[in-house]
């Protein structure tokens, strides 16, 4: 009798990879890329509105005047010029960042990975919002963190519950390695942490000597309302690591982001980055820096923000019209996403299967935003990618499925 091993490398895999799993959701999500499906799933920036001539011009300039440097390795933490441009971007959010405190990364995703890689031992606690950015979860799990998620509401993370959790850990003689937050236009929830709560969070970090990781890819995409100060700018005690990216303000394809952190942490992140990929793309940096030289970078952000705003409006109007009264959703003042809450007997992974099969429409099931797979009655809808007409059409189709399932459930429950 033989024990069959399909994967002949099974004995070689590191323990930490056992968290990596294939899932129904991943396979369903692969289907959402089909052209006949209206996908409100992926949070893809609208790269069609980035002027092709602009890209051609800056790329041309980089190629003709300095191709050798553009094609060469660069410093691990990025060029000084890139860091200065990053500081300019952060200044737009009233945040002063010293270029010496900046590392240029390969996308914001690498920031999350580096922080986790440098700080987390197996079993260490990370506190995150509930829901949290689904893309952070594999990183946290692959370093075997114990992720505790704290609920959020319309004003962002519940600071009362966060405080309680931190105090509970303190009583047990421990503390989280870091608290991972997306304070602006949260992915997936769409909400912002209110000013009061930001102040509380910074105070909590000071009191207990905690590290906050502020992940802010969407902060520049505000449609209305007042800009809120970044946690990084409110903190005066070097407790905040700031992670961001050019993905939504220039392009995700260039794979450039950054981290801002106090010097000792930065040194470790630098070592981690060097080990990971030696340096951020020199070519991408040269292109971005040339873009900053020749053009007003805010122009594209302003254009695309108006576009996202009208798409958000289309989605909100469609939700009002087509979704049942028993559902609710967030009203984001910026960003890409609306977060929907359905009656708790509905499972949005199942609903997604139905939506793809019967109505050719897709969304992101909420359970991907929890480490333990809860959140089954939520869905994330993205308004960044698709036109207003298709948004309305897509919401109508999803609404239909939800209503049908609710009717069915009533029949399944009967009168009790």
């Amino acid at each position: 009798m033989t024990r069959v091993d399909f994967d002949k490398y099974e004995e070689f895999y590191a323990k930490r990879t056992f968290g990596m799993r294939s899932s129904v959701m991943r396979d369903l999500m692969a289907i959402t890329a089909r052209p006949d499906i209206i996908s409100l799933a992926g949070g893809l920036p609208n790269t069609e509105s980035f002027p092709a001539k602009t890209l051609a011009q800056v790329t041309h300039e980089v190629s003709i005047n300095g191709s050798a440097a553009a094609l060469q390795y660069g410093p691990t933490d990025g060029f000084e010029e890139t860091k200065r441009n990053i500081a300019r971007v952060m200044a737009e959010e009233n945040t002063v960042a010293d270029p010496d405190d900046i590392i240029v990364t390969s996308g914001g995703q690498q920031g999350i990975d580096l922080v986790t890689r440098v700080l987390v031992n197996p079993g260490d606690v990370i506190i995150a919002e509930a829901p949290t950015y689904p893309g952070a979860i594999p990183s946290f799990c692959s370093f075997e963190a114990d992720v505790i998620q704290v609920p959020l509401d319309d004003e962002g993370i519940r600071t009362d519950l966060l405080t309680r959790e931190v105090e509970r850990l303190a009583e047990a003689g421990t503390k989280p390695k870091f608290i991972y937050l997306i304070p602006d236009f949260h992915n997936p929830a769409g909400v912002c942490i209110s000013l009061d709560r930001r102040v509380e969070i910074v105070a909590l970090a000071k009191k207990h000597e905690l590290i906050i990781v502020e992940d802010n890819p969407y902060g520049q995409l505000r449609f209305e309302g007042e800009r809120l100060p970044t946690l990084y700018s409110l903190d005066k005690d070097d407790n905040v690591i700031y992670v961001s990216t050019f993905s939504k303000i220039i392009s995700p394809g260039i794979r450039l982001g950054w981290m801002v952190a106090p010097a000792p942490l930065l040194a470790k992140f630098n070592l981690g980055k060097q080990a990971a990929d030696l340096c951020p793309s020199t070519l991408a940096q040269k292109i971005v820096n040339q873009y900053f030289k020749e053009f007003r970078w805010q122009d594209y952000v302003e254009t695309v923000t108006l576009l996202y705003q009208s798409r958000r409006d289309a989605m909100l109007a469609a939700l009002e019209e087509f979704f049942p009264a028993e559902s609710s959703w967030t009203h984001p003042e910026g960003g890409f996403y609306i977060w929907v809450t359905l009656p708790d007997y509905l499972d949005t992974v199942d609903l997604l299967a139905l939506a793809i099969e019967e109505q050719k429409v897709a969304f992101v099931p909420g359970s991907g935003a929890w480490v333990d797979g809860s959140g089954a009655n939520h869905m994330r809808l993205s308004f960044s990618t698709v036109s207003e007409e298709l948004i309305a059409e897509g919401i109508e189709r999803i609404g239909k499925i939800i209503r049908e399932q609710m009717d069915l459930y009533r029949a399944l429950k009967g009168s009790e």
């Binding site: 994967d7 899932s23 299967a353």
Partner: protein
């Protein structure tokens, strides 16, 4: 003699599309290595046109689920007079629908767990909800709630009490308009693969999922289930399982190949859960595993299945 041209049909629109693409790719590679001229087709609305242009000597169907396993594509191939692998239209229809196949099992005296089946109308128009307490008493808990026609364990839920039934049902109804409520059999899961023009049972694979049951995740993620072949069961039970499976295969009119899923309960009794007429050909699939155990490599397996069609 010139090479035979084989069309490998894969992909399509079912929820098992990705699994089908993997199966299809492996089958294509195997057939090319065996010397056939192979055209892989990710099926869509141009399928019939493509087949008319290509005029293949046979079609190897590597589609799973809706349209591929339920007689739909088989019917089209019959019309086009293209020989194809696996079972014909009627057995495909009967095997895809667990309700139909279980009724056939019962009619033929083949042991299968007791069950009840409903479509949405039964609940929405006839008040079937009021039979739930009766069903709970008759079948006992836990009850397995599953869509009648969906592969890869999608939409399967357990209800441990009457109050858990609505949630389990609504999940299953997300995958099909007809669902089964079946008595749960605790025991050992056995996969009996059948192969050949003269059908024979291949060594039985025992599946030991590392999760609670053999769900989607454990089927398609390496390392999530342990497989033992031949199964660690008494010789007599293994023979009985093989014989039972061959009976199922022939009484439902199947041909070429297939896989019968059987539960061995804690007292060694056998119950047939279902029969699959196009089991998977991926790296974690059970049919190729069973074939390997008797020295039939993947390429030879694929070719034997093809020859059943070509020589029919």
């Amino acid at each position: 003699m010139s090479k035979k041209t084989i069309a490998v049909l894969k992909g399509g629109r079912s929820l098992e599309r990705n699994i089908s693409l993997k199966s299809g790719a492996r089958v294509e590679k195997a057939l090319r290595e065996q010397g056939y001229s192979v055209e892989g087709i990710d099926v869509d609305e141009s399928l019939v046109k493509q087949l008319k242009d290509l005029k293949p000597d046979a079609a190897f169907i590597a589609m799973h689920g809706r349209s591929g396993e339920d007689g739909t594509v088989q019917e089209l191939l019959d019309i086009l007079n293209i020989p194809y692998t696996g079972s014909d239209v009627l057995p495909s229809i009967r095997c895809m629908d667990k309700v139909l196949s279980k009724h056939s099992f019962i009619a033929d005296g083949i042991p299968t767990p007791p069950f009840y089946a409903f479509n949405r109308d039964a609940f929405q128009e006839l008040g079937a909800v009021d039979t739930m307490p009766i069903i709970g008493k008759e079948l006992g808990f836990p009850i397995v709630v599953k869509p009648a026609a969906q592969g890869s364990a999608l939409g399967i839920r357990f209800a441990h009490t009457v109050s858990e039934m609505p949630a389990a049902l609504i999940s299953a109804f997300s995958f099909d308009n007809k669902v089964l409520l079946e008595k749960y059999v605790k025991g050992t899961e056995l996969a009996v693969s059948i192969l050949g023009k003269e059908p024979r049972a291949l060594p039985i694979v025992e599946v030991r999922p590392k999760t609670d049951y053999f769900d989607f995740e454990s089927r398609y993620t390496m390392g999530k289930a342990d497989y033992l072949v031949p199964a660690e069961i008494p010789e007599a039970v293994a023979s009985e399982a093989a014989e039972l499976s061959l009976r199922v295969f022939s009484s439902l009119g199947c041909s070429g190949f297939g896989r019968v899923d059987v539960m061995m309960d804690e007292s060694g009794g056998l119950q047939v859960l279902e029969i699959n007429t196009i089991p998977g050909f991926t790296e974690t699939s059970l049919l190729p595993m069973a074939a390997q155990a008797v020295g039939i490599g993947f390429n030879d397996l694929v070719e034997e299945i093809l020859l059943c069609a070509l020589e029919a």
